[in-house]
C-alpha cells in the first residue's frame, strides 16, 4: 500500500486555504501559508486551474475557488456543451464512416441521445436528440456502463431479478454475461452491438473523456449490420478506427491529455 500522494495533499490544502476568509489570495500568500516553494505552489495551482477547481482573476492575478468546485454535485459537463464541443468531430466521423453518428450520456439507467448526425446519404431521417436508448443493447450504452459506475448501478436497480430486457435473441441476458462483456470493452477501449438492439442493426462506440480521463459520454456510429461488420460478423476495423479517433479528438479538445 503506497503512502499518501504529496501533491494531492498539497492541492487539498490549497483548496482549504482558498475556501477560508476572503477567498482571494496571491501566489506568494499561498506559497507562504503552506510553506511551499513558489514554483511548487504555482504548478499545483496551474493544474487546479486546468480542471476548473481554481480560477485566477485576470486583473489582480489572485486565485479563488473555481465554478467547477461549486458544481461538483451536479453534472460535470452540460450535455448541450458536450454537443457544441463535439459537433465538428461528429460530422467528420459521419462523413468518413458513411453512417449515422450519435453521442449519448447516461440518464437514469438509459442512454440519453444528446447529439445525432444523419447518415450522409441525404435520405429521409429524423432527429433523435432527446430520445432514450437501452444501455445493455447498444454500443454507446455499453461504453457508459463500462466506464461509469453510476450508470452500471442504475441499470442494476432498473432490472428486477437480474433479467435484462430482450430485444433480439442476441441481446445480453444476464448481469454476469454483461460483466464479462464490459471487461472486454474496458480492455479494448471500445464497444459494439451486433443484432442486439434489433436484427440487422449494428453499432460501434468509444468513450469521450474530459479532464483527468473522466468519461463524460460516448460517441458511436450505427447502421445496417452488413455495412458495419465484416463477413465474420465482427465490426470492420477501419470503422472502429474512425470511431476511436473521433472520440479521442473530442476528448483532447475537452482537456483529456492522455487518451
Amino acid at each position: 500500500m503506497p503512502g499518501p500522494v504529496q501533491s494531492i495533499e498539497r492541492a487539498a490544502a490549497i483548496l482549504r486555504l482558498l475556501a477560508q476568509g476572503s477567498g482571494r489570495l496571491g501566489l506568494t500568500e499561498i506559497a507562504n501559508s503552506l510553506g511551499l516553494a513558489r514554483g511548487t505552489a504555482h504548478g499545483i495551482l496551474r493544474t487546479l486551474q486546468l480542471v476548473g477547481f481554481v480560477e485566477q482573476d485576470e486583473a489582480t492575478g489572485k486565485y479563488q475557488l473555481g465554478a467547477a468546485l461549486l458544481h461538483l454535485g451536479t453534472s460535470y459537463l452540460d450535455v448541450n456543451e458536450l454537443r457544441s464541443r463535439a459537433i465538428n468531430w461528429a460530422d467528420a466521423l459521419a462523413a468518413r464512416s458513411g453512417e449515422a453518428v450519435r453521442i449519448g450520456t447516461h440518464l437514469q439507467g438509459k442512454v440519453l441521445v444528446v447529439h445525432h448526425v444523419f447518415r450522409p446519404d441525404d435520405s429521409l431521417q429524423t432527429l433523435d436528440v432527446g430520445m432514450l436508448m437501452p444501455m445493455h443493447a447498444t454500443a454507446i450504452g455499453k461504453v457508459l456502463l463500462a466506464y461509469d459506475a453510476n450508470a452500471a448501478a442504475a441499470l442494476h436497480d432498473a432490472s428486477h431479478d437480474g433479467e435484462l430486457e430482450q430485444f433480439t435473441r442476441r441481446t445480453v441476458r444476464t448481469h454476469r454475461e454483461m460483466s464479462r462483456m464490459l471487461a472486454t470493452v474496458r480492455e479494448h477501449g471500445w464497444a459494439s452491438d451486433v443484432d442486439e438492439a434489433g436484427m440487422g442493426e449494428a453499432g460501434v462506440a468509444a468513450p469521450i473523456r474530459g479532464y483527468g480521463g473522466l468519461v463524460v459520454g460516448a460517441m458511436g456510429i450505427s447502421g445496417a449490420t452488413e455495412r458495419i461488420c465484416d463477413s465474420g460478423g465482427r465490426p470492420r476495423p477501419d470503422l472502429v478506427g474512425y470511431v476511436r479517433d473521433a472520440a479521442r479528438a473530442v476528448s483532447r479538445d475537452l482537456g483529456a491529455s492522455r487518451w
Binding site: 448541450n80 456543451e81 457544441s84 465538428n88 467528420a92 462523413a95 448526425v117 444523419f118
Partner: protein, 503 residues
Amino acid sequence: MTQRYVMSIDQGTTSTRCILFDQRGRLVSVTQREHKQHFPRPGWVEHDAVEIWRNLERIGPEALAQAGVGPGEVAAVGIANQRETTVLWDRRTGVPVAPAVVWQDTRTDTMVDELSRRPDAHVVRERCGLPLATYFSAPTVRWLLDDIPGLRERAERGDVLFGTMESWLIWNLTGGPDGGVHVTDVTNASRTLLMNLRDLDWDPVLLGFFGIPRAMLPEIRPSSETYGTARRVLPGVRISAALGDQQAALFGQTCFHRGEAKCTYGTGAFLLLNTGTEPVASTHGLLTTVGYQIGDQPAVYALEGSIAITGALVQWFRDRLGIISTAPEIETLARTVDDNGGCYIVPAFSGLFAPHWRSEARGVIVGLTSYITKGHLARAVLEATGWQTREVVDAMNADAGIALTMLKVDGGMTADNLLMQFIADVLDVPVVRPMVAETVSLGAAYAAGLAVGYWPDLEGLRRNWHRAAQWTPAMDPGRREEEYGNWRRAVERAFDWIKPTPG
C-alpha cells in the same frame, strides 16, 4: 510529395481558426485561438492586428502538427475573415498605426450623419449597393486619417496601407515589409463603400466622397485565385482564396445557383441569397453585395440580410449578466420552462440592422412581470434570434418575389437544438444543417482548392454537401402569428431611443 489537404484560415470577430480539409471536404484537424476585445470607450470596439497575426503564427503550424503533415502536403490555403474591420499599417515597418477598428464600432456615427446629409450622398448606394453606415470601412478610414496627425500625407505617398483582415494576413504571410503582397478580394472590397459594384474596382467618385487616397488601397482581386506564396508560417504554400466570412459560408454551403440561400449563426447572423451575375437592388432593407468571383469568370452577386446581434446576445447573458457560464448552457436554462412567459428581448445593442436599419434604436426587454424567471429570459434570448431571422426572411421573400422553401444554416449556434427547432417553427419551413458546421472555413478551403485545381469544378463540390440534421416546423399557426405580432410590437419599443444630435 502529393498534396493531400487544403487549409483554411477563418479570422473571425472573436477568434481565429485553422482547419485542414481533405479531398472529400472532411475536417482533418482544427486549431483555434481567441483574441482580446478592447472596448476603450462606449461604442468603440478594437482588435490588436498584431495579436491576431501572432495567433495565426501559432495555430497554423499547430493545425499541421495535429494532422501530422508538413506544409508540402498542403495544396493551398484560403482565408475567410470578419468583414469591414479596418487595419492601417506602415508599409516599411509592418506596424499598425492604430488599433484595428471592428465592424461593431460606432465612433463614426456623427461623421456618417454629416456625410449622409450631403447633397451628393446618393452616390454611395448607387455605386456600391450599401447604405451609409458606421458598419462599413470607409468612414472608419476617413476617421483615422483625420484623427492621426500626418497620416493623410503618409497615406497619399503610399507609406501607410489600408486593409481588412485578409489583406493584413496575406501581406504578412507573403513577407510583410519584405515584399508582402497588398491585395483584397471582391467580396471584402464590396464592404468598404469604396468599390463600384459593377466595375469591381475602386470608384473615383466614392474615393472623392470619402476623401480617401487611392495609394493606400490594396489591389482588388477575384475571391478564388492565387495571390502569392506564403514565406512565413506556412512556407511554400500558395495563398489562393480570400472571402468575407459570410460569403465564404455561402460558398461552403455550395449555394452556387441563383435563388440558393444560407444563414450563418455566429456573433451576428447573416442570410445571403445568390442572385446570379447581376446585382439586384433591394426594396426591403437588404444589402447588395458580391457573393464571390472565381478567377476571370463574372462575379456572382448576393442579397444580404445582416443581423448584428444573435450569438452576441448569448455572450452578453454569459459575460455581462453571468447567468450562465458557457454559451450552450443557454439551451439548458431555456428548457427549464415551456415558453417565454410573455417576455421578449430586442437586442438592438448597436441599433438594428436589416431590415430596419435604425441606428437610433437600443435594446429592450418587454413583458416583465413577477412571474418571469431566468429560464424565461433564456428563452427570450434564443427567440430573439428566431424572430430576427423571420424578419430578414420576410424581406428576402418580398425582394425575390418567391418564398424560401427551406433554410440552410451553419455556424456555432446551430449546435443549439431548441433554437434550430424554434427557427423552423417561426419560418414554417424546414431548417437544414450540412455535415460541416464550420462552413465558413469550408468555403474558404473550397475557393482555394478550386484555384489550384485540387478540386476540378463546382459540381464536384456540391456532391460533398450532405444533410447532417433537419428540423421540421411544428408550431401551431395561430400561435406563430400571435407571437410574431408580439415581437413586432416589442421591436417598435426599441425604436427612437437615442435622441438626434441637435443641429
